[in-house]
Amino acid sequence: MKAYFGRRYVLSASHRLHSDSLSAEENREAYGKCNNPHGHGHNYVVEVLTRGPVDPNTGMVIDLSEFDEVVRTTILERFDHTNLNLDPIFANQVPTTENLCRVVFGLLQNAMIPGRLETVRVEETENNFFQCWGSEVEG
């Protein structure tokens, strides 16, 4: 019996939306106050949904403590209380929440058992969130 198991995590980080391929004026035009040179921050909510058969012995899709450990070591320890722009993974891409969502999906996909990651949703604030899944990232 296939089911899904999800968990929500919080990570706090700063970022600045700025593209080197745009002029200073174009950056201000594209990103508005998110282009502030000193950056700003968010309490991001990262929602990770996994899929798989329900183990008849445990009634569970995934071992929660193993799942937490993967997310903690792969995502939270890397990005929580950091400046996203300074992480090498954002050296050549703007740390928008769209890109953060794809990055988180890719890192988790590599760290988890193949075929088990369904979706990653990243909420930047209470009013906006982004979601991606395998075909998006692989494409």
């Binding site: 019996m1 198991f5 999800g6 995590y9 445990t58 009634g59």
Partner: protein, 139 residues
């Protein structure tokens, strides 16, 4: 096609235990959830149906009718109950969040069959605001 979701809450107690295992094995796998005296949660149930809005009413289904079905089929059995001791599905199945989602689906699916073309799409159960499981009727 439009998806419609109704949310409901119930409070229940449970514990995790596999009779085929030793006490030590249960405590190792389930940790604090293996306390035989039980513990409880405020669960949130989300029931999602998908269908075309009726041209006359504009409804996919009548939300009051859906609310009544959820209360009759699920809440009356689960709310303020000890899931292991009082709900027949969990006599021999561990009441994990995954299995609660599956049991809720099985209770709801026959009762929602008269929903005029709307199909039950998924059942999501939050054990806490951060932890949830989902069942989509897949084998």
């Amino acid at each position: 096609m439009v998806e419609l979701t109704r949310r409901a809450t119930f409070s229940a107690s449970h514990y995790y235990w596999n009779d085929a295992w030793s006490v030590e094995e249960n405590e190792r796998i389930f940790g604090r959830c293996a306390n035989r005296n039980g513990h409880g949660h405020n669960y949130t149930l989300e029931v999602t149906l998908a269908g075309e809005p009726d041209p006359t009413t504009g409804f996919v289904v009548d939300l009051k009718w859906l609310k009544d079905v959820i209360e009759r089929e699920v809440l009356s059995a689960f709310d303020h109950r000890h899931l292991n001791l009082e709900v027949p599905e969990f006599k021999n199945t561990i009441p994990t969040t995954e299995n609660i989602a599956i049991a809720s689906w099985r209770r709801l699916a026959p009762a929602l069959a008269p929903a005029r073309g709307a199909q039950l799409r998924r059942v999501r159960v939050y054990e806490t605001p951060e932890i949830f499981a989902e069942f989509r009727g897949e084998a």
